[in-house]
């Protein structure tokens, strides 16, 4: 295959040049570039101190093209779900219809761009839109041809009909001109009249040509018979009908008869007195020189090709196309003008060289949209494997990965990219992992969206990381509840412990809990860390107490201390919480329970001693602490007494 080696593209940066270096840093979607000097240690210099944001894939930022990306995404996803088990022959209609859907999305986009291009006041913007329209037009032209030749793969006979449709679709200016002529006061005298008639004939729209001619015939009494003869020739031209019972050979015989008849008319100079009719007759007989004299009406070599085939080789086979295409291009373009990229792409298509078409399109276009989607479709049609065994599907994946990676740079289009990655079996998942963890988690909503995508695809590491980032951020902003729920999602026990501690600290200083709903409804999640379990249970104690279920509250409180899930630093608080229960008229703590409480109080105060001597604590604080202990001792002793009496009574 021909390798075209061209210089890489150069982007000028408004920065210094001589003796300076360009520093850079990769971002997710762009590169930062700045002036610097990399050399000896301690180097100083006079850089401009400017940092330039350099970006690629500008198309992504066009709001109209965004529709193209959005809508083609649906088609793409639909294509991936076409069942594998059907024999590919039966799937052809589906593939053709998908191809047409892609093209109508391009068309819709093109028309919208055209409209804004016309309506905008800004000349520069209008040029930009105009350029985009011409790109899309070219894309659609190529895609349409690929659809006819590769996807639909129409046989001889039908092939020409499809090519005619292709040319008609892409040279719609005839209709515009026809309308203008017909709307004028006297269409037959309009200067564009004959151009329209000839253009119709060149496109094989003979019925419309006859209608136009009829207007002229009605006024030209002298040439009446000549017009009649022409009308007769036009109406009799055989057109292949793939649905009919006639074979291609039968059609060929009929067509040759007609061709001979036209040729006879030309030979016996039936139209010699009317230059226009003679010209039409020459076209009908497929005279190449005549066709080439009307380049401006044909406007492109591929129009010339199709017209030439129509009037000279209507039963052209796909395999013969290349020969005619090449010769038509050579004949049509003068020796001075070299074929442009579009020409060589179309020529490669006529040559059925799919790989060359994809390659040339990739080089010529600055977004991956077209090549990625077309290649994917061709791959589904099993065209790439047969074309070149060892890199068929790799090529598809390579292009899809590039396209989807580009989408990931956009703040909302990245969601489309996820589906593209899903359908890249080799590297799709790794690419998704790398890209999705870089999606900025601006809001909780966005974080949840990203999280859902990761969870659906079983990406535990990404899930954990996102939750951890969110938990960390919430904690920094002092949103404890949010931090706790994110760290539970991350299953991050250490962090949950830390946050639980913060909750308890807050309770100690303020006497109330925040985020009650969350703590009440943790369920089994509270088992993530001991401290979290304690937090939940401790809160439960407060609830029971509030609801005056003193016995249950007392039991829970005691179990918190005895089961040692309470941090030691919190024992004093727990014991203090027991105070009001001890002071109730009723006996709530049994004698046994009172002993246990007393045991813990003693253990605490004995270990407390050095701490209370700590000079950090003020005398006042120390006093409070001592008073608390004294109060507790008193209350416990009293309760014990009451309990013994009560228990003795019951026993007796």
């Amino acid at each position: 295959m021909e390798e075209v080696d061209v210089e890489p593209t150069v982007t000028n940066i408004p920065a210094a040049r001589d003796g300076m270096h360009l520093g850079f840093a990769w971002g997710p979607g762009d590169i930062l570039v700045f002036d610097t000097v990399y050399k000896a240690a301690g180097a100083t210099g006079s850089g401009s101190s400017l940092i330039h944001v350099v970006r690629k894939d500008e198309d992504i930022y066009s709001p109209i093209l965004r529709k193209l990306f959005n809508e083609s995404h649906h088609i793409f996803v639909g294509l991936q779900t076409i069942r594998e088990d059907l024999p590919s022959k039966n799937k052809k209609p589906q593939f053709v219809s998908i191809s047409k859907s892609y093209r109508s999305v391009i068309r819709a986009c093109m028309e919208e761009l055209q409209q804004v291009a016309v309506s905008t006041q800004d000349a520069e913007l209008a040029t930009q839109y105009g350029n985009q329209v011409s790109i899309l037009l070219a894309i659609e032209l190529i895609w349409n041809l690929c659809e006819v030749l590769f996807i639909d793969a129409v046989p001889a006979g039908s092939l020409l009909l499809h090519l005619l449709d292709w040319v008609r679709l892409h040279k719609a200016d005839v209709d515009e001109k026809a309308r203008e002529v017909l709307q004028s006061e006297s269409p037959v005298e309009h200067h564009g009249y004959w151009d329209v008639v000839v253009s119709y004939v060149l496109q094989g729209r003979l019925e419309e040509a006859r209608q136009m001619l009829a207007k002229q015939a009605a006024q030209q009494y002298a040439d009446k018979n000549m017009y009649k003869l022409m009308d007769n020739l036009l109406s009799k031209m055989p057109v292949y009908n793939p649905g009919s019972i006639h074979t291609l050979t039968e059609f060929d015989v009929k067509w040759r008869h007609w061709h001979e008849e036209v040729d006879r008319c030309l030979q016996d100079k039936s139209f010699a007195s009317n230059v226009h009719l003679e010209l039409i007759c020459k076209i009908l007989v497929g005279d190449e020189d005549t066709l080439l004299e009307h380049k401006e009406l044909l406007s492109t070599w591929y129009h010339f090709l199709v017209t030439r085939l129509l009037f000279a080789h209507p039963t052209i086979k796909p395999t013969e196309l290349h020969y005619y295409a090449q010769s038509c291009m050579a004949m049509f373009l003068d020796s001075r003008s070299a074929p442009e990229t579009l020409d060589s792409i179309l020529l490669a298509a006529f040559d059925f060289d799919i790989h060359q078409v994809i390659k040339d399109c990739s080089i010529a276009l600055n977004n991956w949209w077209f090549v990625a989607h077309l290649t994917d479709l061709l791959d589904h049609c099993k065209l790439l494997q047969s074309h070149n065994l060892h890199f068929g599907s790799n090529l598809r994946e390579f292009l899809l990965l590039e396209y989807a990676s580009g989408l990931f740079n956009h703040h909302s289009l990245w969601q489309l990219a996820v589906d593209y990655f899903d359908h890249c079996p080799e590297f799709g998942r790794v690419y998704l992992e790398l890209h999705i963890e870089r999606v900025p988690l601006d809001t909780e909503r966005k974080a949840l969206k990203v999280l859902r995508i990761c969870e659906q695809r079983q990406m535990p590491e990404q899930v954990r990381s996102i939750c951890k980032i969110m938990a960390k951020r919430a904690l920094r902003n002092n949103r404890l509840g949010s931090a706790l729920s994110w760290s539970i999602r991350a299953k991050d026990a250490a962090f949950a412990t830390l946050i639980s501690e913060r909750f308890l600290q807050d309770y100690c200083t303020r006497g109330t809990f925040s985020d009650l709903d969350l703590i009440d409804n943790l369920g089994p999640a509270m088992l993530l860390s001991d401290r979290l379990t304690f937090l939940v249970k401790y809160h439960e104690f407060h609830k029971l107490y509030g609801e005056k279920c003193f016995t249950e509250a007392a039991k829970l409180l005691l179990s918190l201390i005895t089961a040692k899930i309470a941090p030691r630093s919190f024992w004093m608080t727990l014991l203090t919480d027991a105070l009001p229960l001890l002071e109730q008229k009723e006996v709530i703590f049994s004698a046994g329970q009172s002993y246990e409480l007393m045991f813990f109080l003693e253990e605490l105060t004995s270990s407390f001693k050095p701490a209370t001597l700590n000079s950090d604590k003020s005398m006042q604080e120390e006093d409070i602490e001592l008073t608390k202990v004294e109060l507790l001792r008193l209350a416990l002793a009293r309760n014990l007494a009451k309990a013994i009496v009560k228990e003795g009574t019951v026993d007796a």
Binding site: N12, I31, F34, G42, K56, V96, S362, L399, L401
Partner: protein, 383 residues
């Protein structure tokens, strides 16, 4: 490629490093003016400086972000022989109103006796670990055992590389099959000292880093080094900035189960480019390692890309045009040059061919652009 905007960084001296945070919403810059600045990107894509402070008493060479799992944390290294760790704290409300944030120094790492030339955080799966290398030839690995307390860092490992170190890169692979691995480059220019890239691997049993490989073919000074994201592959890809750009593949060789020594590698050179003409100073990969960027003495940043056949080509060049702007930010000329000359950087690599078959601005499109109707479905298909 196009310049979307330019930001006046307003450093008083040469900028040495610019670093994006993990999500690309913040960046940090450092300079010979001994300061670090932090920039935040607003909704409309503009960058605002939200903090600027003096960090060192010498040129600041590099600045780098920790993974956001560890909070908003920066590390910097300097000619003043130190590296430092900085953490952003949620400041007073009036700070916030002024759009400023507050960074406090959590630690200064003073173990080096010479200029600290590079600083990198280890991959996040290893915990919060920071690595420095210095001109005295020592790589130091520090760890913050309690991620909630960044003022405590303990020096876990000291690797003596014998040669003046210029750069380090961690292998980002989190696969269990790959023990932690770090590559170190030396800018010692004496070619007789042998290979200038050394690769160290962590050994579970000895709990130490041991040399696994020296790239003997790289004998000239090395200025930068970068492991590519692993993409789930069994081998590693390493880019090196020396007198040229080189890309190496390190393929771990099958290990005997009884062996406790470091992994041995088969070292393959994948690509070597001397387009920068002379020294290359920086190499760096994009997120998915489909593009490698390098900066060299020719004053250009070059972009390298492999096609699907793994052929590497230069696909784009960023070049100073000698006219540094002094003004403020310029607006993007978005959507221009759809088939102009300045496009196609990423596009031109399908088969290793470079860009620009359409060098001029001539329309790529068919000559006539009349759009009157969309008639795709006009003729029924015959099937």
């Amino acid at each position: 490629m196009f310049v979307a905007r330019s930001i006046a960084a307003d450093h008083k001296d040469l900028i040495h490093d610019v670093s994006y945070d993990f999500h690309g919403r913040r960046m940090a810059t450092c300079s010979s003016d001994q300061s670090v600045k932090v920039w935040d990107k607003s909704e409309n894509g503009e960058w605002h400086c939200t903090a600027s402070w003096k960090t060192h008493s010498g040129s600041v060479w590099r600045v780098t972000w920790a993974h956001p799992e560890f909070g908003q944390v920066l590390a910097s290294c300097s000619f003043d022989r130190t590296a430092a760790v900085w953490e952003e704290i949620v400041g007073e409300s009036n700070d916030k109103q002024r759009g400023q944030s507050h960074w406090i120094k959590r630690t200064t790492l003073v173990d080096s006796r010479t200029s600290v030339t590079d600083v990198k955080f280890a991959p996040k799966h290893m915990g919060l670990m920071l690595t420095t290398c210095s001109a005295d030839g020592v790589v130091r690995i520090y760890e913050a055992p309690d991620v909630m307390n960044l003022s405590q860092w303990s020096l876990q490992h000291e690797i003596s590389c014998k040669l003046s170190c210029s750069c380090i890169s961690w292998n980002p692979s989190s696969s269990r099959a790959h023990p932690p691995m770090i590559a170190v480059g030396s800018d010692d220019s004496n070619v007789t000292y042998g290979g200038k890239v050394q690769i160290y691997e962590y050994n579970e049993n000895t709990r130490k880093y041991a040399k696994a490989e020296t790239l003997m073919t790289v004998t000239d000074a090395v200025h930068d080094i970068a492991f590519a994201p692993n993409l789930g592959r069994s081998f590693h890809v390493l880019a090196i900035a020396t007198k040229d750009v080189r890309i190496f593949k390190l393929v771990p060789m099958r290990k005997e189960s009884t062996s406790t020594g470091p992994t041995k590698f088969e070292v393959q050179i994948v690509a070597q480019f001397d387009n920068h003409n002379s020294q290359v100073w920086r190499v760096s990969w994009n997120i998915t390692s489909t593009l490698l960027a390098s900066s060299g003495d020719d004053g250009c940043v070059r972009l390298w890309k492999a096609n699907y056949m793994d052929n590497w080509k230069c696909t784009g060049i960023l070049k100073g045009d000698g006219s540094p702007l002094t003004g403020s930010s310029g607006q993007p000329t978005a959507m221009s040059t759809v088939v102009g000359s300045s496009v196609q950087t990423s596009q031109s690599v399908l088969n290793g061919t470079s860009a620009g078959r359409i060098g001029k601005r001539t329309p790529f499109a068919p000559p006539l652009r009349q759009l009157t109707s969309s008639k795709i479905y006009q003729h029924p298909a015959y099937y």
